[in-house]
C-alpha cells in the first residue's frame, strides 16, 4: 500500500514535463485516459517490456524513479504512439524528456555509450550513420540487409540512380566546428570517459 500525503503533489512531475521545450503537445499528458492505444501499436512494447501507456501512468503518478528504469531506453522514436494517440499526447516526446532528465542526473551514460559511433559520424561525415556495432543485429533482424548494403552502389547504378550525395569536406569541417563550439564534442567525450572509467573499475 502507498499513502498519499496531503503535502504530496504528484502532478508536479507531469507539469515539469509539459514545460519542457521538447514537449509540443501542451497538456496532452494530462488528458491521458490510459486507453492503451499507444501500447497496442508500439514495436518496442511488442518485443520488450517497454510500455508507453505505463510511462504516462507513472509520470502522472509523479513517480520520478522512472528515469532510473532501463525500459525507457527501449523507445527508438518511431513516433507511432505520437500519431495514434486519441487525446493528442506524445509518449515519444515524453520519453525523450525523461531520457534528458536521466542524463542530466548522470543516469544512462552506458546506454548512450553504445551510440557513440553515431555521434562520431557527425565529425567524420557530417551526417548520422548507423554504428557498425549494430550491423550484425540488423542483418539478423532484416534478412538480406548486409548484402544490400554491400552492393548499394551497384544497385543504384542498376536503377539508374546517382551515387548517394555525401557532404563535402568543407561541410564536414563546418559541422565539426559547430559541434565543438556548442559543447557536443565535450559531451561525448565525457560520456566516453565515464563509461571507460567504469569499465576499468569493473576490470579492477
Amino acid at each position: 500500500m502507498t499513502t498519499q500525503k496531503i503535502s504530496d503533489s504528484p502532478i508536479d512531475f507531469a507539469e515539469k514535463i509539459i514545460r519542457d521545450v521538447k514537449n509540443s503537445k501542451e497538456d496532452g499528458v494530462l488528458k491521458c485516459v490510459q486507453c492503451g492505444m499507444c501500447t497496442s501499436t508500439c514495436p518496442a512494447a511488442r518485443h520488450s517490456d517497454y510500455n508507453p501507456r505505463d510511462i504516462i501512468e507513472r509520470v502522472l503518478e509523479g513517480d520520478e524513479t522512472i528515469i532510473e528504469d532501463d525500459c525507457i531506453w527501449n523507445c527508438f522514436y518511431c513516433y507511432t504512439c505520437h500519431s495514434v494517440c486519441p487525446v493528442g499526447n506524445s509518449v515519444c516526446e515524453v520519453n525523450q524528456i525523461l531520457k534528458q532528465i536521466a542524463i542530466e542526473s548522470g543516469i544512462g551514460y552506458d546506454k548512450l555509450y553504445e551510440y557513440m559511433g553515431f555521434a562520431d559520424s557527425y565529425f567524420t561525415a557530417a551526417i548520422g550513420a548507423i554504428p557498425e556495432r549494430f550491423f550484425a543485429d540488423i542483418d539478423r533482424d532484416v534478412p538480406g540487409w548486409w548484402d544490400f548494403r554491400q552492393n548499394l552502389d551497384e544497385i543504384r547504378k542498376e536503377l539508374d540512380l546517382d551515387p548517394p550525395l555525401m557532404p563535402s569536406r568543407e561541410v564536414i569541417d563546418e559541422v565539426s566546428t559547430i559541434l565543438t563550439i556548442t559543447g557536443f564534442k565535450d559531451k561525448i567525450e565525457r560520456i566516453r570517459q565515464s563509461e571507460e572509467d567504469e569499465n576499468e573499475e569493473r576490470t579492477d
Binding site: 492503451g36 501500447t39 508500439c42 510500455n51 501507456r53
Partner: protein, 767 residues
C-alpha cells in the same frame, strides 16, 4: 423644448432597504423637478395610485422612479405610468446599485442623487414609442422524417397545428427502421424496433394535420417578420403513389441489380424497389441513377402507375416556425484504415451487425460471416472516430455506442451462446438505469477487455486484433473471425446543409447549436427555429423523442404567445436609402434583407446595436428611441453632480452586464462609490464621441463591459482599442478606459474589477 418638460420623481423607500442607507429627505431637498413623491413600497397598488394621481394632477410629461433595478420592476412601473407611454418612464437603480453595495450614508446619498439626476436628464430625451408585437403564422415545417421528426410532427398535429413533414429519402422512418432490435434499460430485454415504430408511423400517416413530403428537400429559406418562406424541391418518384399497390411485379421484371443501401449494401435490390417492408408512402420508387429505361416494369405494372419521365418540382411553403430533425450519419471507416474495414468483409460496423441480425436483413437474422459460417469469436472495438483527436476524428463521446455494443452482444449471445463476444473498451458508459443492462450483459458471458486496439490484421483465416489489456499492463494479440466497429455519430449531410440554408448556428462539431445548452436545449440561435434528435448531438431514441416533443411544445408557446419586441431597433428612411446593401453585410444578427427593392429590417432579430448606422453613407438608418442623445444626456446627468475632488467612473453595460452588476448588490458585496453604471441597449451604442465627451467633462475613468457570447463582442473590443489609440493622440491617458468581459454568474469578479479599476484610476490621479 425638451427642457420645458414636466418631470416627476418618485422615491421608493423599499421598506427600509433604500431609506436606511440613503437620506431621502436630503435627496428631496436637492432635486429640482415639478413633482416629488415618496412611498414605502412604490411597487404596491397604493404606489400605482400615487404615481397615477400625480401624473394627472401635475400634468407630468416624464416620470423617474428611483427604486430597485429595472430588471426587477421596469414592467411594473411601465404599467403604473399609464396613460403615459411606457417608454417615458425611467428607473434610477438606487437599491441594487446603491444602497445594497455602499454603506457610507453620505456617499450613498450623493450617489443616489447623481443616479436620479442622470435618469431625469435621460428621460427628457425619451420619445413615446410602442412595443412591437409579432404574431407568427401557425404552420410548421418539420425537416427530417426520422424518429425525432415524426414525433415532433405528430405532437404538433395532435395539438391542432398544421405540419408539413419533409423527408429527402423515398420513405419516412429514418435510422430506427433499420436498427433491428431496440432495448430499454428497465426491461432487461431486446424488442423489435419496427414494431415500436410502426404504430407511430401509422398514426402520423392518418393524421389530417400532417402532410408528408418524401423525396423532398429544402433548397432555399428566407425569413421575414417571423415568417419563413421555404422553397422545397420534390424529386420525381417515377411511380404514382396514388395508383401503386406495392404488389412488387415491377421489381420482379426489373433486370438491374444494385447494392441495397437500406441493408448497408449487404444485399442487392432492383432499380425499382421499395425501401423496406413497412416504408411510407406504400409505393415503389425508381432509382434513376441505375435505371436503364428498358420499360420492363412499365409493362409489368397492371395499375399503370409507372412513368419513366419526370421532373423535379419546386414547392413554396410558408411557415411560422421550423423544427430541424435532420439527424446523423455514421463515421466513414475509410478514415481509419488500420481497422481493415475496407479490406476485409468480416470487419463490419455495429449498424451492419444490426442489419445482419435483423430478421428483415440480408441473412434473415442469422449471424453469418461472408463465407456463410457462424463466427467463433466476435471482437467489438469501441470509440471508433469518437473521443478521438486524430485528424477526422471527433472529440466528443457518441453516447450510444456502449449500449449499442451491449445490445448487439446480447443478441448474439441469445442466439449463439457458443460464440465468444469480447468488447474492447476505454470506458463503459452506461449512466443511470443502463448500468443494469451492463450487468445483465456480463451475466450473459459477454467478455470485456479494457484497451483501445491499434490495428486489425489478417493472419491465415482469422484476424488479429492488437491491443493492450491495460488492466494487466500486457500487450495482447486476440484472434477473431469477426470484428465489429462501434462507429461515431456525426452530423448528417442534410444537417450541415440545412444549417447553412436556415442560417442557424452550429457547434464546432457541426451539429445544430441550441441557444443555451443548459436552459434552452431545443431553441436555436434563430427565433422560430427549433432542433431535436441527433441533428443536435448524439443521442438515443428515447432522448430524441423527448426532445422532439419538447420542440413541439416550444413551437406552440411561440405560436400562441406571439412575440413582444422592444422598439429600439433600426429603421430605414427609404427616401435616402439607395439600397446599396452595405448594412446587410454589416449586420451580425442577419436581420436585414432586400424585400420589394427596399431594405427590410426584421424586428425580431435586430438588437439595435447600431452597427449598420456607421457604414450608411446616405445616413438613411436611424435607431428608434433617440439612443445616442439618451446616452449623452445620462453622461451629462451623472457628471453635472460631480463635486470637487470626487472620483467618477462611468460603467457602460448592456442587459447581461447590468444583471451581473445587480447580482453584486443582491449578494451584498460592495464596490467603490465612484462607480456609476449606465445601462445601454447594446454596448456598441456607446460611441467614441460619448467616451471623449465623458473624459473631457469630468469622468475619471470609463469601464465598458461586454458578454463574450454577444455576436458584437470582437467588434466592440476592437472599437475600444481604437478609442484608446485615438485618445493618446489627443494627449489623454488610455489607461482611463478599460474593456472587460462580463458574465452573469461571475458577479464577484465584476465587483473586483470595479474595485481594481477604481484603484488604478486613483493612482493615475495621484501622480
Amino acid at each position: 423644448m425638451r427642457d420645458d418638460l414636466k418631470v416627476g420623481v418618485f422615491l421608493c423607500e423599499c421598506g427600509g432597504n433604500i431609506s436606511d442607507i440613503i437620506d431621502l429627505d436630503k435627496v428631496r431637498e436637492e432635486l429640482d423637478v415639478d413633482f416629488i413623491g415618496q412611498f414605502e413600497n412604490l411597487c404596491s397598488l397604493n404606489g400605482r395610485k400615487i404615481i397615477r394621481d400625480a401624473i394627472f394632477d401635475h400634468d407630468l410629461d416624464r416620470v423617474v422612479v428611483a427604486a430597485c433595478s429595472p430588471i426587477s420592476h421596469e414592467k411594473t412601473f411601465q404599467d403604473y405610468v399609464k396613460p403615459l407611454n411606457p417608454y417615458l418612464m425611467d428607473m434610477a437603480n438606487i437599491r441594487e446599485q446603491c444602497s445594497w453595495v455602499h454603506d457610507d450614508h453620505d456617499l450613498a446619498t450623493q450617489k443616489a442623487l447623481t443616479l436620479i439626476n442622470a435618469s431625469i436628464e435621460k428621460v427628457k430625451q425619451s420619445d413615446a414609442v410602442d412595443p412591437i408585437y409579432c404574431q407568427t403564422p401557425e404552420e410548421v415545417a418539420v425537416i427530417g422524417g426520422g424518429i425525432a421528426g415524426m414525433n415532433a410532427a405528430l405532437s404538433l398535429a395532435k395539438q391542432g397545428t398544421k405540419v408539413t413533414l419533409i423527408e429527402q429519402s423515398p420513405s419516412i422512418g429514418g435510422h430506427m427502421a433499420k436498427i433491428g432490435k431496440v432495448f430499454s434499460p428497465v426491461k432487461i430485454a431486446e424488442e423489435c424496433g419496427m414494431c415500436l415504430l410502426n404504430p407511430i408511423l401509422n398514426e402520423l400517416v392518418w393524421n389530417e394535420n400532417i402532410e408528408v413530403l418524401t423525396n423532398t428537400k429544402v433548397i432555399e429559406a428566407e425569413r421575414r417578420a417571423g415568417t419563413y418562406n421555404l422553397i422545397l424541391e420534390k424529386s420525381p418518384r417515377y411511380v404514382d403513389t396514388e395508383r401503386c399497390i406495392a404488389c412488387g411485379k415491377c421489381a420482379e421484371a426489373c433486370e438491374v441489380e444494385v447494392p441495397n443501401d437500406w441493408n448497408d449494401n449487404l444485399s442487392m435490390r432492383k432499380a425499382i424497389y421499395r425501401p423496406f417492408g413497412q416504408s411510407y408512402p406504400e409505393a415503389y420508387v425508381i432509382d434513376m441513377d441505375n435505371c436503364t429505361k428498358c420499360s420492363n416494369c412499365v409493362k409489368a405494372c397492371t395499375m399503370k402507375a409507372i412513368k419513366l419521365r419526370g421532373r423535379a418540382e419546386r414547392i413554396p411553403l410558408q411557415v411560422g416556425s421550423v423544427v430541424v430533425a435532420t439527424g446523423h450519419k455514421l463515421f466513414d471507416m475509410e478514415k481509419r484504415p488500420e481497422y481493415g474495414y475496407t479490406r476485409y468483409d468480416d470487419v463490419i460496423t455495429q449498424s451492419e451487425l444490426g442489419r445482419i441480425t435483423g430478421v428483415n436483413g440480408p441473412t434473415k437474422g442469422k449471424l453469418l460471416k461472408s463465407n456463410g459460417e457462424v463466427p467463433k469469436r466476435v471482437v467489438m472495438i469501441q470509440c471508433v472516430g469518437s473521443r478521438d483527436e486524430k485528424p477526422d476524428g471527433h472529440r466528443y463521446c457518441s453516447k450510444i455506442c456502449c449500449t449499442v455494443a451491449l445490445k448487439n452482444a446480447n443478441i448474439i449471445k441469445h442466439k449463439y451462446p457458443d460464440t465468444d463476444v469480447l468488447i474492447c473498451y476505454t470506458d463503459v458508459r452506461t449512466p443511470g438505469m443502463f448500468e443494469k443492462y451492463y450487468k445483465h450483459t456480463q451475466e450473459n458471458e459477454v467478455r470485456f477487455l479494457r484497451g483501445r486496439p491499434g490495428e486489425v490484421v489478417r493472419k491465415g483465416d482469422n484476424f488479429i486484433v492488437r491491443t493492450e489489456d491495460t488492466l494487466k499492463g500486457e500487450f495482447v494479440e486476440i484472434e477473431a473471425d469477426m470484428v465489429v466497429l462501434s462507429t461515431a455519430m456525426e452530423p448528417s449531410e442534410g444537417t450541415k446543409e440545412i444549417a447553412e440554408i436556415l442560417n442557424v448556428g452550429i457547434t464546432e462539431d457541426g451539429f445544430i447549436k441550441e441557444s443555451h445548452p443548459k436552459i434552452k436545449p431545443v431553441a436555436t440561435d434563430v427565433q422560430g427555429i427549433f432542433v431535436c434528435g441527433t441533428a443536435h448531438e448524439p443521442k438515443d431514441i428515447t432522448d430524441s423523442i423527448m426532445q422532439a416533443t419538447a420542440a413541439a411544445a416550444k413551437v406552440n408557446e411561440y405560436n400562441y404567445g406571439g412575440v413582444e419586441i422592444e422598439p429600439f431597433i433600426a429603421e430605414i428612411d427609404t427616401e435616402k436609402c439607395i439600397v446599396c446593401g452595405d448594412c446587410i453585410n454589416r449586420c451580425k444578427y442577419k436581420s436585414m434583407s432586400i424585400q420589394n427593392d427596399q431594405i427590410y429590417i426584421d424586428p425580431m432579430s435586430c438588437t439595435g446595436c447600431g452597427k449598420c448606422l456607421v457604414g450608411c453613407k446616405q445616413r438613411a438608418i436611424t435607431v428608434n428611441g433617440n439612443i445616442d442623445e439618451k446616452i449623452l444626456s445620462t453622461i451629462k446627468g451623472v457628471l453635472s453632480k460631480k463635486r470637487p475632488g470626487q472620483r467618477m467612473i462611468l460603467v457602460f453595460l448592456d442587459n447581461i452586464g447590468y444583471t451581473a452588476a445587480d447580482n453584486i448588490g443582491v449578494n451584498r458585496l460592495s464596490y467603490p462609490e465612484s462607480i456609476h453604471i449606465i445601462k445601454v441597449i447594446s454596448v456598441n451604442r456607446v460611441t467614441p464621441k460619448h467616451i471623449h465627451y465623458a473624459l473631457d467633462n469630468g469622468a475619471d475613468g470609463v469601464f465598458i463591459g461586454e458578454f463574450p457570447g454577444d455576436l458584437m463582442y470582437d467588434e466592440v473590443e476592437r472599437k475600444i482599442q481604437r478609442v484608446k489609440d485615438r485618445i493618446v493622440e489627443m494627449g489623454q491617458n488610455p489607461d482611463r478606459i478599460t474593456f472587460s468581459k462580463v458574465y452573469i454568474p461571475y458577479f464577484s469578479g465584476l465587483a473586483r474589477k470595479f474595485t481594481e479599476f477604481d484603484a488604478e484610476i486613483s493612482q493615475l490621479d495621484g501622480k
